[in-house]
Amino acid sequence: MLRTIEISIVVLILAVAYIAAAFFASLPSPRQIASPNLRQLALTTLRLLDSDNTLAETSFKDPSDKAWTDLEIALSASLPPNLVYNLTVYDVARIGSSVTYRKYYSTSNSESGFGTHSEAASYLVTSPNATFSLTPKRLSATLYILNCSDANGWWITGYSAQGLAFDLQKLLSPYFNTTIIVQNTTELGQLLDGNKISDSSDESIHNAVVINTFGEAVPIPSTYADSYDRDNYAEYCYEVGKRVNQHNWTWVSIVGYPFYYVSNTVELEYSHNSWGIYGMRRSGQAGLNSFLQGLDVENHPAYNYDGSGITGDVGVVHFTEDAIYQSNYYGIYPSSYQTATRALPSSIQATYHTTIRSSVFQPVSGYYGAATFKHDGKGALTAVGLTRTPDIRVTALALLAYYNPIIYKAELTLTPGEAPTQRLLVLQLSQQGAS
């Protein structure tokens, strides 16, 4: 009898234990087990609709505006048919340190509610009148822009070197700690000799960037014209290459065949470039070869005449994917395809111990429309081998792609007099029929 009671008690305990376990271990509905991640779907839907800023613009429109109807149609169309949504827009107001949310607009395609299971994602947008200030991190290098009043340019038809220098200064000076305009060939001579040409304490000869705005011509100081005049001044180009290596400069050629001519309107007053531009002498194809020899001075310790042509006429070239990105990143928008008739070959890498960096255009048959050739030791040449006339935005892009200065994007600067406005969008999704 006692055992029967004991067994009954055990059975009772087991039954209670099972009932309790079954009660507490109640399993969720299958839908909850494997529902699509509605929160992520809601968030990605909001992002999609804001991919061209349309959602942000709509969020600040009057509730009676047609844009809200369009948004509702787009929402209904983009979500799977078994989903219902509720979009609520809140006006975000900041009073002192506190933030308040006031309902501004709400819409839903569900008449019967959302059942027990729904998920929501929130998305903050800023009013279209807000602007975001951009502050580039300045490079420590000094930017020199050649603006020599005693030199002439070639293949910059329609522009003057001085005008190009001014535009380049506007475009690039925000990215450099110091920008110095080289006013004449005498200053260029000082620079080549390693002497500062300004009073700025930030000026640094070493690691500088030198942009030659004279197209296919390069200004030549009188002192250099006297000393390095062999082979129509190709020897001078060798000397420039040496100095680029010595000071670890990046020499920038904005258009055409680099170092094709040298120019000094005083020293070469009676010479012309064979096209009627006086103050200029044609070094020809030897100019670039000589410069590259000088750049690779460790392996070319002495100047040697080499008049062979090395550039290629490759026709239309297209931006690399990196260049498209850099174009957007820096907000510089030259045409993404251009004509390259003086593209530099990849063989420069082996011949003059350089490495191609940051090509702006996709190479065509081994020729680069615009790229930086970084010497394995010191110095670099950024050559834009496009046809005339120059587009200095390509030059700026090539240079920025090479140095890649960071841009800090400061948030929310509002138009003066206007209240700061942000809107919070909450998109709630639910599967129809959810229990």
């Binding site: 055992r3 029967t4 004991e6 067994i7 055990v10 059975v11 087991l14 039954a15 234990a17 099972y18 376990a21 079954a22 271990a25 399993l27 969720p28 087990i33 494997a34 529902s35 699509p36 991640n37 992520q40 779907l41 990605t44 839907t45 992002r47 999609l48 609709l49 804001d50 991919s51 061209d52 800023n53 349309t54 959602l55 709509t58 047609k66 844009a67 109807t69 369009d70 948004l71 149609i73 787009a74 209904s76 169309a77 983009s78 979500l79 799977p80 048919p81 989903l83 239309v316 297209h318 931006f319 690399t320 994917e321 498209i324 990105y325 993404s336 395809y337 996709q362």
Partner: protein
């Protein structure tokens, strides 16, 4: 004795009941795990560009699998990476008998996208790079959100009916912009652009002063409403002499394209026609418009003997489409090839097939491909089953 029997029976009964509850709970946990894996996988694939980052535009081997557009943020997918995914369609051998096969992405009548099978990423490779081979299987489907359906409403003069709809409803009030290319008895293509707006049912009618029964034409339509954008294409090919001139991507990295005589793909009987062709590339600009770009060897003639293909190049990393108009006698046809998946709203389905009786989890995300809204859906399952 009776007590012992009752006791043992009760124990067995409750062990059975408990194990049933525990089994359900374990199954729940396993299914939940698959569901979480689906969510994790789709984010891993769509929010990483993979490595090398630009693998979508090169022939480089992958060491990390991901489809995000390099340097983009969020769910922005590389249309070129999508092109390199092995399709479910049967590969096409070109030239016939050569043993060289091309991945075949189906984009409807008159549309082709053939890429060397060797340049494509297989499901097995992707699965291994994601670290889920032998544990989980997946099938990823990336489809445009908007369907831009075009049909002939009237032939002469031509009126096309365009309907725009998404998975949830029609897109009323959508702004349409279209590029109509048509040719008659010549490979010289006339392009006509225009705009329209869909009615409340998402329908619009486009009028063209051409004879739709005589002219070959291809229309590319962009529909847009409130940040939601989609493309559609429709071709009417009046051509009875083979498939004409078919584009093949032979070197993906260099954008090298063969414009091939269709006889090398399929013998459609004698006499085998000679073709004149005219190829034009239209690049998608950042503003969402198409701009014509000059390409090399854009015109010429092909036969099935000594001159059975021509070579041209397309700009790498610049999405758009290649339109090839061909003629034999008085008949003119058109073929089109997307360069980047998004520009002609092609769909991609990539992955494995779940075996029977396997429990699958589904998750989805909204994404953009070349400015076009796409829906990415993943189906995930455990390879070992339960």
């Amino acid at each position: 004795m009776i007590s012992t029997t009752v006791f043992i029976t009760a124990i067995l009964l409750f062990v059975g009941l408990f194990s049933q509850t525990i089994q359900s709970a374990v199954l729940y946990q396993q299914n939940r795990h698959v569901s979480l894996k689906a969510s994790d996988l789709i984010d891993s694939i769509l929010l990483s560009p993979g490595y090398p980052y630009s693998w979508g535009i090169t022939n480089e081997n992958l060491s990390l699998f991901g489809l995000q557009k390099p340097k983009a943020t969020g769910y922005t997918i590389s249309s070129f990476a999508l092109m390199r995914l092995t399709s479910f369609e049967d590969p096409v051998e070109y030239p016939r008998g050569s043993g060289e096969y091309y991945n075949n992405v189906s984009i409807g009548t008159g549309g082709y996208l053939f890429i060397p099978v060797g340049d494509c990423i297989t499901y097995e490779t992707a699965s291994m790079l994601l670290g889920i081979n032998r544990t989980y299987g997946f099938q990823l489907s990336i489809k445009p959100i908007l369907e831009v359906l075009t049909s002939v409403h009237q032939s002469n003069p031509l009126i096309l009916k365009v309907q725009v709809k998404g998975p949830g409803s029609s897109l009323g009030g959508a702004a349409l912009s279209y590029y109509m290319f048509h040719a008659y008895k010549t490979t010289s293509v006339t392009m006509q652009t225009g705009t329209a707006v869909t009615d409340a049912a998402g329908v619009a009618y486009l009028d063209f002063p051409i004879d739709g029964e005589k002219d070959s034409y291809t229309i590319v339509i962009c529909a847009e409403l409130s940040g939601l954008r989609g493309f559609g294409r429709f071709s009417q090919v009046i051509f009875t002499q083979g498939a004409g001139v078919m584009p093949f991507v032979v070197d993906y990295e260099k954008g090298k394209i063969f414009l091939a005589h269709s006889w090398d793909v399929q013998d459609q009987g004698t006499p085998v026609p000679n073709y004149e062709f005219n190829a034009t590339f239209f690049m998608l600009t950042e503003g969402g418009e198409f701009e014509e770009i000059q390409i090399e060897n854009s015109t010429g003639g092909l036969n099935y003997g000594s001159k059975n293909y021509e070579i041209t190049h397309l700009p790498i990393a610049n999405p758009g489409f290649l339109l090839v108009t061909y003629r034999s006698g008085n008949e003119v046809g058109m073929n089109i090839m997307p360069w980047g998946i998004g520009t002609l709203a092609a769909s991609v389905t990539f992955g494995g097939q779940p075996s029977d009786n396997v429990w699958t989890a589904v998750d989805m995300r909204q994404a953009t491909v070349d400015l076009v809204g796409y829906q990415a859906t993943i189906i995930c399952w455990r390879v070992e089953g339960y």
